[in-house]
Homo-oligomer: 760 residues x 2
C-alpha cells in the first residue's frame, strides 16, 4: 500500500461527515486553500463551509468587550472567505446532477500526496435511470501558488442526450457562521465588496475590496471545455456564469477544466494584471504540465521530508497525511505564517499562534529550512507591531508578540488565556535559535533573528522583577490555559531564560563576526546584553522539594486536585462546562505545560525529576487541547515509557482523520500535525538539536518493522533508518559527526553506519 | 447657619455644572428618584440626563463577550429611565421661558433637608423685557414613596398678559447614552414599551411594559392650576399634554401643582388601580399636607441620625448632605437595596454592590435599624439566585452572591474584578451579624440572617482548600481591583473567617433559643456547623515577618512597587490608562484593602502591625475609588494620626459637592457617603460594635468646637457629644453600659456622663 495515497470509499450523506471531508480533502499550497465541497452543491438545509482562503488576506470584525478596560482589543483580524470558483452545475436534459437524489453506485475520494491532487470519482444513476461517471481532480499548485486547477470529467455510461454545464465564478460570498456553535463566528459579517466581473479573453476576473482592512484581491477563472458546442459567458450581478451545452453520446466523456487564479495586493502591485498574466501562463501550459510540475515538486518534498513507517500501513498513511498538510499550510512569505487550521477552514479565524514556532517549525527546520526561514521573516515583519503591543501592555521597552494575530495586532478577546501568554516571546526566540542551530545561517540571524532576540529579551527585563537574587516573572499565563495569570510558570521562566541567554549569545556571535548592525540599529550596548545574561542566569525556576518535581507555577501545588472521578465524560473539554475561575482553582491542566518544558528544555532538569514530574502531571492533564498528547508521547519516549509513548502518538496521528476532537469540519489541527512529526523524530528516534550538534537515541515502537526519515543539519542531510535492534545512519553528500545514545560517531559521506539501539 | 439647608446661588450655564446639579438636587425617597432637570428644558445641543427611576425596576441589556467562556454573563439588568413627569413649558405671549435666553437676574437652588424638598428660584427678564419670578418646589414623599410633587409658581413682575403653561407626561423616554464616555452606556437601548395614556378624572396614566424584563409600571400625573382659565388635556402619541391658559396681571402669581405617582408590578398587584388610588389620596390631601408630613418625617430622621459638627459650617452642611442622600437612596423593601449611585443617576446601571453592606448599612444599623433590616431582607430574597450563581461558578454547595446586580443575577462583565470578589459573601454575612449585634433581633436572625450565614459559609467550605493545617482561599479578588485573582487575600480570608465562625455561632444561638428552623430547612447538621468553625479557626492569614505587616495576598509583596514618580497626574485613575495585567504586576492599590481589613477586623491584629501596615499601604494606594479615603481616615484615627484622619475625612466629605471624581453628573457616590458617617463615628468617636457591647474612643478634630450624634443599641439610644477635653454620653430612655477608652461606664437613663478624651 502506498502511504502517499489516502482514499475513502462509499457515500455517507451525514452532514458532519461531509463537512469533515471538506476539510480532509481541501487543496492548499501555503498561499491559497480551497475546501473540497461538492462542486454541484448540496440540498437546501444542509450545512457546508464553502470556503476559499488566501493566507494573510483578512477582514476586520468587531470584538465587543462586555466591560472595556484599557488596552483591550476591540476588533480582530479574520481570514475571509474569498470568491467561490469551485461551483459547477451539471444538467442532463431536465435532470440536475446531485448525489443526494437518484443512486450513488460508487463513490471514492482520494488525496494523492505524490501527485498533489485530490480526486472524487462517482458512479451515479439519476432518478430517471441515466448513469453517469463523474471524475473530479483538484489541485492547488505548489509551483504556481496563485493557481487552482479543477478538472471535471463526465462520462455518459448508458445514455445519449444533451448535457449542460454551468460553471460559476461567484464574487459575493460570506464567511461561515453558526449561531449554535461557539467555536465559529456566530453571525455572518459582510467582509467583501466585490466589483462587477470583467470578461477578458474568455476568462472572468473579479476585483474585490475588503473595506475594513483595505485589502483587495482579484480572482480569475478560465473554463476550457473539451467538446465544441454552445457556449455562453455572462455576468450576473457580481458573478460570472459560463455555460457549455452539447450532445453527449453513450460512452462519451467530456472534460471541463477550470483554471483559477487568486492575487492579492499584499503581494502584487497590480492584482488584475498579475491575475491575467498568471492565469494565461497556466492555461498556456495546460493541465497536464501543471500536474507534472506538481508531481516533481512533491517528489522533491518527499525525498527531504518522508517519514516512512513499515509495519503499520494505516499509521504510515496517516503520518504522511499530517506532513503533507503542514506543507500545504505553511506561508512562504513574510506576510504569512501557519494558521491553527492552516488554509483548510475558518476555525480560530485564520490566526497564527505559537503553534507555528513550537509545534510546526521544527519539521521545516529539519526538512525545508527555507520555509522555516520564511516563518522567521514573518515574525520579523511584525516586530514593529510587537513593540507597539508591548507599550499597550505597559512595558517601557522591548517587544511583546501578540497571542493570536494575522498581521501582528493582538486579536485575542480574553487576555488571561490570550495576551497574558508571554511565553509567545520565548517561543519565537526559540524558533530563531533553533533555525540558527540547524543551519548556522548567520545572515538570517544578523538580518532578522538578532533583533527579535534582543527586543524580546528587553521585554523580559522590563516585565520581570528581582526578588532578592532571583529574577522572577509574575502574572503571566503558561501554555496550560486552565491556570491563568500566575507567578513563575516553569515553562515561561525557562523560555524566557533561554531567550535572555541567547540574546546575549547572539550579540557576542554577531559582534565577533562583524555583523552587529542589529544591535547598533536598536542601540543595544554590551552592558545591556550583559543584563540579559545576568537576568537569564538568575531566572527563578520553581522546584518542590517534597514532591521532587517542578511545580507548574508558584502556587499550583497548593490547589485542590480536580475531581476527575466526579466529572462526567460529556463534561470534556472542561472549558465548555466550567467557569474559568473554577478551573483556575484546581490542579488540572488542559495540556502539556511543565511536561512541555521538560521536552523543550530537557537539560534544565534531571531525568529523575522529569520522570516524577511526568507521572504527576499525567494524572491531572485532560489533553483538552490538540497540542498535548504529542508532547506527552515525546517525554514518555525519553523516559523509556514506550507503551505510553505509542498510545499518545496514536492519539495524535489520527487526530483529524478520525475527527477525534469532533471539530475537524472547522479545519485541520496543524499544531498537532507538527507534533506527530516530533513524536516520531524527537520521541522514537530521540533526536535533539543542540549547540554541540545533533543527537539521536532511537528505538522501534512495538509492532513496526522499520521507520526512516532524513534530516538536514548545517547543509548536510542525514538518512536515518531505525529497525528493532539497530539504526542505520548515513550522511548524504558530505561527512558528518553525530551523537547516538550519548556517543559520538563520524559518518563518512554515503557510508551507512549501523549503531545498536538501546534496549529499554 | 442651618446645616440642613444647602444652597447654591447664581447661574452658571456650563453644561457639566448643570448636569452635576441635576444630581445634587435630585429628589428621592428610597423608591423613586427624579433628577432635578430644568422643567422647561435646555437648548438643543446641551446635554442633560433627564432621568426618573424606580428602585429595582430594570430592563435587560446585552453584554457581548469578546470571547465567551463558560458561565460568563451575557446580559445584564439595567435600571431604566421611566416616564418623564417633570417637563413644563411656559409661554408669556410669544416668548417661551428659558434661562438660556434673556437675562437671569437672580437664581438660587436649594436642598432643604429639614423640609425634604428642593427648590429653584429664578428672577428672569425675557428678551422683550418681561420680568418673571419662577419658584419651583419639588419633593419625593417619604411617607408616600410612590408620590412626587412638583410646584411651579410664576409671578408676573412688571407686565400683564397672557400666559400658557404646557405640562407634560411623557411615556416614551430612553436611558442616557454617550458614546464618548466609557462610564455610561454607549448606545441608547430602547427599554420601554409605553401604552397610550389614559385620561381619568383630569389625570393621565401611562402603563408601560419593559418587554425584556417583563416588568410593568404605571405613571400618573394630575395637574392642579391655581387660576381658572382655558384648560385642555390631550393625548399625543404616548404622552399626555395638559395646557393651561389665562391672563396674568402685573404682580400676580399663579401656581401649577403637579401631583405624580409611580407604581410598578414588582410591588403592586394592579399598578393602575394603585396609581389611581395613591394619586387621588395625595391630591385630596393637598400639597400643604404632603409638605407637612415630609417635615415631620424628617424631624424624626434627624433626631435619630443627625451628626452635628460645630465650628465648621461648610463641613457640617456637607455631612448632612451625605446622610440625607443615604436616606433618600435606601430601598425599604425586599426587592431593593442601595445602588452605587442611589436613585440619582444611571452610573453603574443602578446596580447594588457590597457598598450597601460594608459602607452604608452601618449608618442605618445605628440610626434606622428598620432600614438595615430591610436591606437584609433584600439579600435574603436573592438567596435562591445566589445558590444558582454558586453552581455556575462550579461550587457544589452554598450560595455565592453576585458582585453587581439588581435582582440577584450576576451583571458583571469582567469577572476578575467582578464575580471573583468572593468577599461579597463575607460582607453580606458581616452586615447580618452587625445588625444582630446592634439589635439582638433574634427573629430576623432566625428568619433570614441564619440561612444567609449558613449558605455563604458552605460556599467558603467548598471554595477553600486545606493546605496542611491551614484553610486557604485561592483565586479570588479582594477589594483592591488593581490586583486580581490572588491567593489568600488578607481581607477576603478574614471576612470568610468571620462568616464561618458566625455561621457556627448563629447555629448555636438559634438552637438554644429553640429557633433552629433555618438549619432544619437547609439540612444543616451540628457536624457541618462544626466544620464551619474548624475551617474558620484554621483560616490562613498571611503575615510577613520581615516587614511585620499583613501582605495583601500571598504574592503581593514580591511584586514591583509602582513607579509613582514616573506616572503623570493625568494618568489617574490608573485603570483608564494601564492594562490590567500591568496593574496586577505591581504593588499598587486602587483602594483600601488590607487597611479596610484592619478597620473591619481590627482585633485580628495588633496596633503595631496595623500601624506598619497603614504606613506601607498608604504609600501605594491611589484612592482611585471613592471607597478608599474614608477607610484610611478611620484607621488613621485609630492610630492617632489625627491630621491624616482629618485630611482623608475632608476628601470624602466633599466628594460629590465638589465633584472630586468629575463624574457626579452620573450620580452620587453612596458608598463614600456612608464612609463619611463612619469616618466621624467610627473614626473620630472611635465607635465599635462588638459582642460585648458598644465602645467609644472619641477625640475632637482640630478646629472644631464640638460634634454630636446619637446611636441605637439594643433598643437604647445613646447621645454622644464630643468636645475638646471630654465627651458627654447620655443614655436616652433606659440605662446602658458602654465602654469608653477601654473602661466600662454605667449610664443611667437621662443622666449625662462626662468622660475625658484621651490625648493623642
Amino acid at each position: 500500500m502506498n502511504p502517499l495515497v489516502y482514499a475513502m470509499d462509499g457515500f455517507n450523506p451525514d452532514n458532519r461527515a461531509l463537512m469533515t471531508q471538506e476539510t480532509i480533502f481541501h487543496n492548499a499550497n501555503g498561499l491559497i486553500g480551497i475546501r473540497s465541497c461538492f462542486e454541484e452543491g448540496y440540498p437546501e438545509g444542509m450545512a457546508s463551509i464553502r470556503g476559499t482562503y488566501i493566507n494573510g488576506v483578512y477582514g476586520i470584525s468587531e470584538m465587543k468587550q462586555a466591560e472595556k478596560l484599557y488596552g483591550f482589543a476591540e476588533e480582530k483580524e479574520t481570514i475571509v472567505n474569498v470568491a467561490d470558483v469551485q461551483s459547477i452545475e451539471v444538467w442532463f436534459g431536465g435532470e440536475r446532477f446531485t448525489l443526494f437524489e437518484g443512486s450513488v453506485l460508487n463513490l471514492s475520494r482520494v488525496l494523492d500526496m505524490e501527485a498533489g491532487i485530490t480526486a472524487r470519482k462517482a458512479h451515479w444513476r439519476s432518478p430517471e435511470g441515466k448513469e453517469v461517471k463523474v471524475a473530479v481532480t483538484r489541485m492547488a499548485s505548489f509551483e504556481r501558488p496563485e493557481v487552482f486547477l479543477l478538472e471535471y470529467a463526465l462520462e455518459a455510461v448508458n445514455f445519449s442526450g444533451p448535457i449542460r454545464i454551468v460553471s460559476k465564478h461567484i464574487g459575493d460570498v460570506v464567511n461561515y457562521s453558526n449561531p449554535d456553535d461557539p467555536r465559529v463566528a456566530s453571525e455572518s459579517v459582510k467582509h467583501l465588496s466585490p466589483g462587477v466581473p470583467e470578461l477578458l479573453g474568455g476568462a472572468s476576473y473579479i476585483k474585490t475590496l475588503i473595506p475594513r482592512s483595505g485589502i483587495s484581491f482579484c480572482s480569475g477563472v478560465k473554463n476550457v471545455f473539451s467538446k465544441p458546442g454552445d457556449e455562453t459567458i455572462e455576468v450576473s450581478g457580481t458573478s460570472a456564469v459560463h455555460t457549455f451545452s452539447c450532445e453527449l453520446s453513450e460512452g462519451e466523456t467530456v472534460v471541463l477544466r477550470k483554471y483559477c487564479v487568486f492575487t492579492d495586493d499584499r503581494r502584487h502591485e497590480d492584482i488584475e494584471k498579475s491575475a491575467i498574466a498568471i492565469l494565461s501562463e497556466a492555461v498556456d501550459a495546460g493541465a497536464e504540465a501543471l500536474l507534472l510540475e506538481q508531481r516533481t515538486y512533491l517528489d522533491s518534498f518527499w525525498d527531504r521530508s518522508m517519514l516512512k513507517i513499515e509495519g503499520d500501513d494505516s499509521l504510515s498513511s496517516s503520518i504522511c497525511f499530517n506532513l503533507y498538510q503542514l506543507m500545504a499550510s505553511a506561508g512562504r512569505d513574510q506576510i504569512s505564517s501557519i494558521a491553527a487550521k492552516g488554509l483548510s477552514g475558518e476555525g480560530y479565524e485564520g490566526h497564527y499562534f505559537w503553534d507555528a514556532e513550537m509545534y510546526i517549525q521544527p519539521f521545516f527546520i529539519l526538512t525545508n529550512p527555507e520555509i522555516a526561514k520564511s516563518l522567521i521573516s514573518y515574525r520579523y515583519s511584525c516586530l514593529g507591531k510587537a513593540r507597539k503591543n508591548a507599550r499597550i501592555m505597559g512595558h517601557k521597552s522591548g517587544a511583546l508578540y501578540p497571542w493570536r494575530t494575522i498581521t501582528g495586532s493582538e486579536c485575542s478577546g480574553y487576555y488571561p488565556s490570550g495576551s497574558a501568554q508571554y511565553h509567545i516571546n520565548g517561543d519565537i526566540a526559540y524558533a530563531v535559535t533553533s533555525y540558527y542551530l540547524a543551519t548556522k545561517d548567520l545572515e538570517t540571524l544578523a538580518n532578522m533573528g538578532a533583533e527579535i532576540l534582543y527586543e524580546t529579551a528587553r521585554l523580559w527585563l522590563d516585565a520581570g522583577t528581582w526578588n532578592g537574587s532571583r529574577f522572577e516573572l509574575h502574572d503571566m499565563t503558561g501554555p496550560d490555559e486552565y491556570t491563568c495569570i500566575v507567578n513563575n510558570n516553569y515553562y515561561t521562566n525557562l523560555a524566557a531564560k533561554h531567550n535572555l541567554l541567547w540574546a546575549e549569545k547572539a550579540h557576542k556571535i554577531l559582534k565577533e563576526a562583524g555583523m552587529g548592525f542589529a544591535a547598533e540599529k536598536i542601540g543595544l550596548s554590551d552592558s545591556e546584553a550583559q543584563d540579559f545574561k545576568t537576568a537569564g542566569l538568575a531566572m527563578y525556576l520553581p522546584y518542590d522539594e517534597k514532591l521532587g518535581i517542578n511545580p507548574q507555577d508558584d502556587s499550583f501545588l497548593t490547589k485542590k486536585v480536580w475531581d476527575f472521578e466526579g466529572t462526567p465524560k460529556d463534561h470534556y473539554p472542561l472549558l465548555l462546562h466550567y467557569h474559568p475561575l473554577h478551573l483556575y482553582r484546581h490542579q488540572v491542566s488542559k495540556q502539556a505545560d511543565t511536561v512541555l518544558a521538560h521536552f523543550i528544555f530537557q537539560d534544565a532538569q534531571s531525568l529523575d525529576v522529569i520522570r516524577r514530574s511526568f507521572d504527576y502531571y499525567e494524572k491531572i492533564t485532560t489533553h483538552d487541547s490538540s497540542l498535548s498528547s504529542c508532547i506527552f508521547s515525546i517525554v514518555a519516549s525519553t523516559l523509556g515509557l514506550r507503551d505510553k509513548a505509542f498510545k499518545y502518538f496514536g492519539k495524535s496521528a489520527y487526530y483529524d482523520l478520525f475527527d477525534t476532537a469532533g471539530n475537524t469540519q472547522d479545519g485541520i489541527h496543524t499544531a498537532n500535525m507538527g507534533g506527530v512529526y516530533m513524536a516520531a523524530v524527537y520521541g522514537f528516534a530521540g533526536f535533539r538539536l543542540k549547540e554541540d550538534g545533533v543527537h539521536f537515541a532511537p528505538y522501534l515502537p512495538e509492532g513496526w518493522t522499520r521507520y526512516s526519515f532524513k534530516i538536514q543539519h548545517e547543509g548536510c542531510r542525514i538518512s536515518v533508518v531505525v529497525e528493532k535492534d539497530a539504526s542505520v545512519f548515513t550522511a548524504l553528500g558530505k561527512s558528518k559527526n553525530i551523537k547516538v545514545n550519548g556517543a559520538e560517531y563520524a559518518l563518512e559521506a554515503g557510508k551507512p553506519v549501523s549503531i545498536p539501539n538501546l534496549s529499554n
